[in-house]
Symmetry: C2
Subunit: 677 residues, 2 copies
């Protein structure tokens, strides 16, 4: 390549891969105002098939970016799960019904909507909030990192050569074959990766390369991750012999539960999962007992066709009938569970999503865990690039997310074997799978699959007792600590249902100034700010009001820690947002009269801020949220909770524990001078 | 004009005016698949100010077209109304709080969002469902109707000459003045109409006219309606001396209730209404006591400025302070209440919205009643053009909507006087307004303003006892009647909370096939279909199941009335949609096994229809809708309800009363041959 003609540029963050994980990362960059680029080797976004289950937690995250409502409206809602097993006569029958989403854990329930729509909502959101655009048909072909510069915050230690493909080159093989049903095999794990092919075909042409110098790089480039290969890291785990087919069809059937999620174990013909979808579609995961891997451990793709998959489904569903007129998409995959050995290099290059964990798709977790990886990572990179947080917080990404990935594949390993196994004929049938055990695993899986059981370990970001090494993936990520070096440990006992390290739950509260009910979580937008939740308690009591006033006076003092971490010319709530929830009667108190101004800052152009003080009281139209009771907080005395920008609980303390609060922020934020507003 | 060069074309429906009333009409045309055009003399849509209160009923209607969620998300929700009156010391104080929307009447509450956004949602919906586009800078300049053809369904008796303005000509005067705050005075009733000016300026130029032959025409062209003037009709009613100013500002104030809707009567300085809005904006309606009309009865526009209006507001709010840095829009108007003498000509040309009723804007009803006019009219025109209904149903538009307009201005007349009057000092102060009387009127006003008290009188569309002449605006619109001429009267006693002539209320129900909770109203899409709601009762009981089976057998018979009114090649549910709500336990019954197929028709390509049968049962996540109890229907025996395409109740009967049901449809639908599917 003639080096002289290659254009060179810089960007803060380079994202490789524009699937859900990459788009989530880009969305954070947009909200943090970071200069980022996102490239994808494919020439077009996907339109059919692919992953499509959405956990409660993913919907909560979408809502924090403002587009959960679009998903909720278009998606199919999964309400009930039915289990079908062979009876004594060998004929399948419904043996159980359970709620698909455990009751009460979230304001959302698990839904299904195809990945192309999710990507569309991300793209619309990016367009609305930034000028970040996905650059399609662009892929990296060389990567270097200058290790001497990795600890210099201002440096661009990463050098990537990007190749721009022609439209023809970037088109997936499948699309070139023209019309007909979409076939996902070319992206399945049964197919080899095509990145090297793409690069080779395109090499030697002029004007198609550029060099990008980046501060950070995130590889969201899938199971065959090119980025991971450059770093020389491995995936650890194993594959199995189980081959599954997937059909997205509008079914014509007399099977009574076709609109419920179903787990069906047939006596001898394998298992099948029914996932009802939007627009009358149903996704079927079908065990292909007749397809077995060859000596290399891989199944022969050419033997797998929609007709083969349908026949397998028909056998499992017998005596019920199943056909279809319309097939939207189909694919096949081989079950395997693997986790990456490393999630980052020098806290400069990160991997997320399928690039660091692969598992079976049936629990509907893949897209969710992938997006949640980059949801965990994005704000950390954003705040470091913006100079608000030290680089040391970046280590928590691997500690927090690799641990989750390990938990996930452990679960998936067990669940896949239970689901792929032949049902036991009786208690003596030790080779068969016990249906009671399967149900138990399924119910536990549903909790796991909600995404709400995630519990991050102690670190500088989570003021929890114990060792970060033990509570994470083994990485040492320090601890919240005071200036004297003493570890800050939040007072978990002050709120029984707000758990350090877990996401802040949501109950309905009312805006003090207009009585409108909100789910508290709706106020926790993903805008890169930490949040102090002041449970102000019963501010009608003089004693309690004094405690609150004193707390506010400390925070509002000229050299308070909030002023020190907020840039001098920025608004006082631009780094840390304070939201108040009190438990007095709404009509007994007034915002301007009864709450210190730091809880509702004044602005010369827009007056007082009416969106920060809430009350736990009865609404006219939506009942009483009973937030204090549900959060498990003393309604008289309240407490103080700190939420990270991703809504995970970092700290809990008494209203008086301002020095601990200050120590927590001292460990994670960089002082910027004194804010004078 | 050189007649030879004027292009000529036909369309089924020509709509003049693309405000909310015109856009609602166009939306119906889109959903009914009718060839329609919509023209507006303005060159751009509006961006600021204008009407913005949205009633519950308007939100229900938006939801039936699929975009209520967009309004709900962006709008400010009005929860509580506060009344402020002078105390014995003459200083204003809060005297009362009431829920802004009466509790329990709708799944929506009153919200506020500016008209420009509402128009945007209509335009997006039109784009999604049709190729109807608003033609801007186009206005009619001549209108003829050939009376000899008005009763011929196939004829185009209306001839309209349309003039296409240049961009310069179509721009509102205000916009030409350049930057600065938007001023609505040019569209206020204090300003004269500019249609004639626009036509005069543009005349004599070549290539700017065209002739359109239309079957139907709807004038949604505002208070100065050009269409109304061509027809020579008058507005009846009167103006008052009260002049009001309107400011849309981000207020800077210490008034404690600025985020509540407030009605404030000052002792001597007039009244003020606070309407909190989206994006921190507040609309203030401010009585301008110092501006009085001249001898012509009109106020001098030039004396009214934002500064004058703000000063009036400051006096009323004293001792609270009010200023602003940002003003979004302002205007002024003179209160008047008038209703058009006629709403249609030959059931060919119709008027809707401000063209036939004007009143004060403070109750937030103008845009709502206007949209509801054309919501009432649109499906009737659509079904007549499509040959499904006889032309005779078109007469019910004036009968139903002129009566509503009359009720509205009677209420507004009284309310405006109570609000504009000086508060009484004591019970002996007979010239003053009693604050108790005002509160009473306000609460009644809120019920009225929900849009849910609309109760259409007896007609061929509403099988109600009594005379259509007395129950409507005086027009004779016939009655539902059997072949023998006997009037069909629905059995109101079968459902205490589903009222003949009123909109069908909504409670939560579950889909039988997937257990998903829906508000029943969500299933009543505005798609031009009548609906039979089969309250199937307790289908677990053999007796009841026999009644339901027998009902279905009659409807499914080869020459049933449903088959006779459905085109032979169309789907069986394309004219009348049957929705079932039963009261058995959900898990005791199955769709395919227990419900006759006409309740969930089979399609060769898409299989069974899983979206038509619902159950009144407990949900996992959203409680129990108690629909039978709330509808007031016997959960054992059920009943049959017919909804018009606008969700108003047309008929109620026992499951056995198929001959009455047939008579009802016989009166409103045209037979199309026998549907063989």
């Amino acid at each position: 390549m003639p080096g002289t003609s290659i254009p060179e540029s810089t960007c803060d963050v380079l994202i490789v891969g524009a699937g859900p994980a990459g788009l989530m990362l880009a969305t954070w960059m947009a909200r943090c105002g970071v200069k980022a680029r996102i490239v994808d080797k494919r020439g077009t976004k996907i339109f059919n098939g692919q992953a499509d289950g959405l956990q409660c937690r993913s919907l909560e995250i979408f809502d924090s970016f403002g587009f959960a409502d679009r998903v909720w409206k278009e998606a199919n809602h999964m309400i009930e799960m039915c289990m079908w097993n062979p009876g004594p006569d060998g004929i399948i029958r419904r043996s159980d019904r359970v709620p698909d989403t455990p009751v009460g854990i979230s304001r959302f329930q698990q839904v299904v909507l195809h990945q192309g729509r999710i990507e569309r909502f991300f793209l619309d959101s990016l367009k609305e909030h930034s000028d970040i655009q996905v650059e399609r048909g662009v892929l990296p072909e060389a990567l270097e990192i200058d290790e001497s510069k990795v600890e210099d915050s201002a440096a661009y230690p990463i050098t990537v050569t990007l190749r721009h493909l022609s439209e023809e080159e970037a088109m997936p093989e499948q699309s070139k074959n023209g019309a007909g049903t979409s076939d996902g095999l070319f992206r399945s794990n049964l197919a080899a990766d095509d990145s090297d092919d793409l690069i080779r075909k395109s090499q030697g042409k002029e004007g198609t390369s550029e060099i990008v110098k980046a501060k950070y790089m995130v590889g969201c480039d899938g199971a065959h991750s090119w980025t991971r290969r450059q770093l020389g890291w491995e995936m650890q785990g194993e594959a199995t012999d189980y081959i599954w087919g997937v059909l997205d069809i509008i079914p014509i059937t007399d099977f009574p539960d076709i609109r419920f999620r179903c787990a069906i174990h047939s006596e001898n013909n394998g298992s099948l999962m029914v996932i009802p979808r939007e627009r009358g579609l149903v996704r079927l995961y079908i065990q292909l007992k007749e397809i077995v891997p060859d000596s290399s451990g891989r199944a022969d793709r050419s033997r797998i066709t929609p007709a083969v998959i349908l026949r397998a489904a028909q056998k499992i569903l017998d005596p019920y009938k199943l056909t279809y007129d319309y097939c939207d998409w189909w694919t096949a995959y081989q079950i395997g569970q693997r986790v990456g050995t490393n999630f980052d290099a020098h806290q400069r290059i990160f991997l997320a999503g399928d690039a660091v964990h692969t598992h079976s798709p049936k629990a509907g977790q893949g897209m969710n865990v992938s997006m949640q990886d980059s949801f965990n990572l994005g704000w950390k990179i954003g705040l470091v690039v913006n100079g608000r947080c030290p680089r040391s917080i970046l280590k928590t990404y691997q500690s927090e997310r690799r641990r989750i990935a390990q938990d996930l594949i452990t679960f998936d390993h067990r669940f896949s074997r239970l689901f792929s196994g032949r049902p036991a004929k009786d208690v003596l049938d030790q080779e068969g799978v016990s249906m009671a055990e399967f149900k138990q695993a399924f119910v536990k899986g549903n909790e796991f699959a909600s995404g709400l059981s995630v519990d991050y370990g102690a670190s500088m970001l989570v003021a929890k007792d114990g060792s970060s090494v033990e509570q994470g993936d083994g990485t040492d990520v320090g601890a919240a600590s005071s200036a004297s070096g003493k570890q800050v440990v939040g007072k978990q006992q002050l709120c029984s249902n707000i758990r350090l390290g877990m996401r802040f739950p949501s109950f309905k509260v009312l805006n003090q100034s207009d009585a409108r009910p909100w789910h508290f979580q709706e106020r926790l937008l993903s805008d890169g700010r930490f949040r102090i939740i002041l449970f102000a308690g019963n501010v009608s009591s003089a004693t309690q009001k004094e405690r609150v006033d004193s707390f506010c006076a400390t925070l509002d003092a000229p050299k308070s820690f909030i002023r020190r971490i907020t840039p001098p010319t920025a608004k006082i709530d631009s780094v840390v947002d304070i939201l108040t929830l009190h438990s007095a009667k709404r009509t007994d108190v007034e915002l301007l009269r009864d709450f210190p101004s730091i809880l509702h800052p004044f602005d010369d152009k827009t007056g007082w801020d009416y969106a920060k003080v809430y009350v736990d009281d009865e609404s006219f139209h939506e009942g009483h949220g009973q937030a204090y009771k549900n959060y498990g907080v003393d309604p008289e005395r309240g407490c103080v909770v700190v939420l990270r920008p991703d809504q995970y609980v970092g700290y809990i303390g008494e209203i008086e524990d301002v020095s601990d609060l200050e120590a927590y922020f001292g460990g994670v934020m960089i002082e910027r001078g004194v804010n004078g507003s």
